[in-house]
């Protein structure tokens, strides 16, 4: 994964997308092969150094304690602060900019436990933005967001990539991948995968096979759209069940 690339990681539920992302982040050891960050094995970097390079947005937003939104975003500055140092005005400015980028300006003093699921996701994204890492791993960043906020988030990620960041995101919508990603990684399960530029990898055939659901591709101007074909799904599902 290089700077400037937006990778879409697609696959069925349970195929191992989050597990793969946790392995790429270095939290789990790979069973074979190794993960290299900046040319060195990822576990050779100190945790702090790794946090300067690689940011990881978890799939769920668990808030065990009440906190203000600004406090939650400021944690993104943790890898840059010395042990006894306090957050500076510059750190606070970075946090406020991050909140602005996700459309949550004015939410600074709100209690995080009172926000909706989508708002909490956006706070999580803001915290990651505050970390200002060159590489970002995003586990379902669009979960619970309405269509406007989904598009705003995707535009934000595409913009980050243009400015030189490298992004990998887990998404369930092949249309998002087609519109905003530069590369795609498809996990078919049972060890099979396909990786490459999005235009090569994301085809109707591959997407149909990926989700075990017949999908039609429609061209609308320069854009490609994938539609699930309901009538054919019943026939395919029966066949698939009988083959198992």
């Amino acid at each position: 994964m290089r700077e400037g690339q937006v990778w879409a990681l697609l696959g069925e539920n349970g195929v191992g997308k989050s597990t793969l992302m946790a392995t790429l982040a270095g939290m789990r050891g790979p069973e074979r092969g190794e993960i290299l960050l900046d040319g060195r094995p990822i576990n050779r970097h100190s945790p702090r150094e790794r946090a300067h390079w690689l940011g990881w947005l978890a799939q769920r937003d668990d808030d065990y304690f009440p906190a203000t939104v600004l406090e939650k975003v400021l944690v993104g500055r943790h890898p840059f602060l010395n042990r006894m140092a306090w957050e500076s005005t510059e750190d606070e400015a970075i946090a406020r900019d991050a909140l602005n980028a996700v459309g949550l300006s004015g939410f600074e003093t709100r209690d995080i436990t009172t926000l909706s699921g989508g708002e909490r996701r956006r706070v999580g994204i803001a915290a990651l933005l505050a970390q200002k890492t060159p590489l970002l791993l995003l586990d379902e960043p669009l979960a619970q967001l309405d269509i406007r906020h989904q598009l705003e988030a995707l535009r934000l990620f595409a913009d980050l990539a243009k400015r030189g960041h490298g992004i990998m995101m887990i998404t369930h919508d092949p249309n998002h991948a087609a519109r905003f990603a530069t590369h795609a990684l498809l996990l078919f399960g049972e060890g099979r995968s396909l990786a490459g530029p999005v235009d090569d990898v994301l085809t109707a055939t591959n997407v149909s096979e990926l989700y075990q659901c017949p999908v039609k591709e429609i061209l609308s101007g320069a854009e490609r759209l994938f539609f699930p074909m309901e009538e054919e799904l019943a026939i395919v599902s029966n066949k698939a069940w009988r083959m198992r």
Binding site: A25, A58, V75, H78, P79, R110, D111, T114
Partner: protein, 338 residues
């Protein structure tokens, strides 16, 4: 939707914790602690007016004796034990990521009471009791930790349940030992279990409290990040297994020393961090020293009550904290539920 802030009506929670705010809040808490400490020294089964503290005549020499050899050490012990309990409670709430956790969950109190009861039965009340309590406490913690080994977010549940099981077992053994005790020792054993500051050694507890607070302050922001959850803490560059081990060891030491010094005093370890968090927020850079000060102040006050409520007789301080602590806790819970 109402915010938690509007419940408490206290504006402090809305603000971010900065260095200046930390210093001013801690200064207020230190002042409060000094006031309560002075009251604790002046009042008791006989009341000593402030003016007599500084005179030097024949009558006041007796008074000074009471002060220096009885009241001051006892007040210092109350502060140190309360501080340790508050600190242990705050750390436990971070470790288990649960604002309702308290330091006795991991088997500390169960092990300590078994150790203390056994020592009392075998050699009578005395210095060995503290050692027995300490040994029992640390053994119980080691057992719980070994049994609950693992990694991942659901270790918290396993830790909790193992602690509950070990505590239940220790409770059964304690009851057995109480039933076997001869009448002469029985009263002493029961008083130990209820929490008693009359023979507490303030020196050990104070030193441990001081070292614990100094040792934890540099880790305070790591604790903030740890409390967010293992994945997020990992992503932000925190060495999660190391921090978890440090927290565990600190809880073991602070809770064990508190229990061996003054027996089982309940509710301080739960109430103080929980209530202070509602007022001050969860930033450990402020909350940790604040709970140490708050716990110490609360226990000094409870000890004062235990000596004055039915003076000249003294109540065990653990009774005061439970009798007033439980209803207060229920009130807090009720306010949160709204």
């Amino acid at each position: 939707m109402k915010t938690a802030i509007s419940h408490t009506g206290l504006v402090m929670r809305v603000q971010r914790v900065t260095f200046n705010r930390t210093v001013s809040v801690l200064a207020m808490l230190i002042l409060l602690a000094l006031i309560i400490a002075t009251l604790s020294v002046c009042f008791g089964s006989s009341n000593i007016p402030l003016s007599q503290l500084f005179n030097d005549s024949d009558d006041t020499r007796v008074v000074h004796d009471v002060l220096l050899n009885l009241r001051l050490p006892r007040t210092a012990a109350a502060f140190a034990v309360g501080g340790l309990l508050g600190l242990a409670g705050a750390l436990m709430q971070v470790l288990l990521r649960n604002p309702l956790a308290e330091p006795y969950i991991l088997g500390t109190s169960g092990g300590a009471s078994v150790g203390a009861m056994l020592t009392m039965l075998l050699s009578g009340p005395g210095a060995w009791v503290s050692l027995g309590a300490g040994a029992g406490s640390l053994s119980a913690i080691a057992i719980v930790f070994t049994l609950a080994r693992g990694d991942g977010s659901w270790t918290q549940a396993r830790l909790l349940l193992t602690g509950v099981a070990v505590a239940a077992f220790c409770s059964a053994i304690t009851s057995l030992l109480l039933s076997l005790a001869p009448d002469g020792i029985l009263r002493g054993m029961v008083f130990w279990l209820l929490g008693d500051l009359s023979s507490a050694d303030w020196r050990q507890a104070s030193v441990v409290l001081f070292i614990a607070v100094c040792g934890l302050i540099p880790f305070a922001r790591d604790l903030n990040v740890f409390a967010l959850g293992p994945q997020q803490a990992y992503g932000l560059g925190v060495n999660v297994p190391l921090v978890r081990a440090v927290i565990y060891v600190m809880i073991a030491i602070t809770a064990s020393v508190a229990v061996t010094t003054a027996g089982m005093i309940g509710f301080v370890g739960l109430l103080v961090p929980h209530s202070l968090r509602l007022i001050l927020g969860n930033d450990q850079r402020l909350l940790l020293p604040a709970t140490a000060l708050g716990g110490g102040t609360l226990l000094m006050f409870a000890d004062l009550l235990s000596r004055t409520l039915i003076a000249p007789q003294q109540l065990p301080v653990g009774v005061i904290t439970a009798v007033f602590g439980a209803p207060f806790f229920l009130i807090l819970l009720n306010r949160r539920a709204r």
